[in-house]
């Protein structure tokens, strides 16, 4: 079976949709477990110096501390939660007090992504593509019950929870959650930035299902997995 790394590295749109067809599995796979592949193949995870050695924790703490004060989310609102996200950007709940002033329109300048609203199967490949185009390190906040679990939209065209597409750091429930709830979610993301833990750290690569034909296997033929340092 081809091996699909999480998130879909280089998966084309049809692959994302075919994977969605059967519903996608990924288990948290405990910290440190799993065979994360050679350095350049790993997805984020331990910050590696050129020699492949994991960076000492102190430097990572300093970097995390530096990053934590300006988490710039991607300007990406789907549905009603986006209106509450705009209210958080407005003048009463002003999130620019916490350094999240600039909602960057292009993923290249964003530090992370707030998925605000239900994600339909038509939108799924685009959410995955936007997530992948955000430079590391990145964090994802799933805002609203629709992004977390599909909420009442138990229908044919809705992805039941964005965490079957992209690894999610913080879940903010509510329909729509009040701006204060989203603000607390962003504070929790700040904590994760300080500890520089990402949602994709502990993820082992998950085997794809057989529906993926060999030709379409996203990940190139893998060299024998070396014993890398899993985080």
């Amino acid at each position: 079976m081809g091996v699909i790394d999480r998130p879909f590295r280089g998966a084309t749109d049809s692959q994302v949709r075919s994977l969605l067809a059967g519903g996608v599995q990924f288990d948290r796979g405990g910290v440190g477990g799993g065979d994360s592949g050679p350095a350049e193949e790993t997805l984020g995870g331990a910050v590696r110096l050129p020699g492949g050695i994991a960076m000492p924790v102190q430097i990572e703490r300093v970097l995390g501390f530096g990053r934590s004060f300006s988490f710039w989310p991607l300007l990406f609102g789907l549905a009603c939660c986006a209106i509450e996200m705009m209210a958080l950007g407005g003048s009463r709940f002003d999130m620019s007090r916490f350094g999240m002033e600039a909602m960057r329109a292009s993923p290249r300048q964003a530090d992370g992504m707030i998925v605000a609203g239900w994600c339909s199967v038509k939108m799924a490949p685009r959410v995955v593509r936007l997530y992948e185009q955000i430079p590391d390190p990145k964090w994802v906040l799933a805002m609203g019950s629709c992004a977390i679990s599909g909420n009442i939209w138990d229908t044919y065209n809705i992805v039941q929870g964005v965490d079957s597409l992209i690894p999610v750091d913080v879940y903010v429930p509510g329909c729509p959650p009040r701006p204060e709830a989203l603000w607390q979610g962003l504070e929790m993301i700040r904590e994760r930035i300080k500890q520089s833990r990402h949602a994709y750290d502990g993820l082992r690569r998950i085997p794809a299902r057989e529906t993926l034909t060999a030709g379409e296997a996203a990940a190139p033929a893998k060299p024998a997995a070396q014993a890398g340092v899993g985080r």
Partner: protein, 108 residues
């Protein structure tokens, strides 16, 4: 002095290149098209008008670059420099009016 300056610049680039955690994947390399698979290559041919406007902007921006140091040291240069700058601006003004009449700025 120059060595320290250039060393710092190079250091900033190389350190962040090594320390930053990166994940290589083909999707990340592709041009950003609002979340959609890009149809044509990013280097698609585009209208020459963009190029004209860009070049004119660079030209008149450089004119401004020359004016700043002149404005700062005007007192020490004396009044002669004042009129020399007017000549400089006049020459560029002729170019500006020519471009305007040529209709470069209208988007027809």
């Amino acid at each position: 002095m120059f060595a320290i300056g250039s060393a710092m610049a190079i250091a900033f680039v190389t350190i962040s290149h090594f320390l930053a955690p990166t994940s290589k994947n083909p999707n990340k390399g592709q041009p950003y098209e609002c979340g959609v698979v890009p149809k044509s290559d990013a280097r698609a041919p585009f209208n020459v008008h963009y190029y004209l406007v860009a070049v004119l902007f660079v030209l008149f921006d450089l004119e401004a670059v020359f004016i700043y140091p002149w404005a700062i040291s005007l007192r020490s240069l004396g009044t002669a420099a004042l009129f020399e700058m007017f000549v400089f601006i006049a020459v560029l003004l002729v170019g500006y009016i020519y471009a305007w009449k040529k209709g470069v700025f209208e988007w027809e």
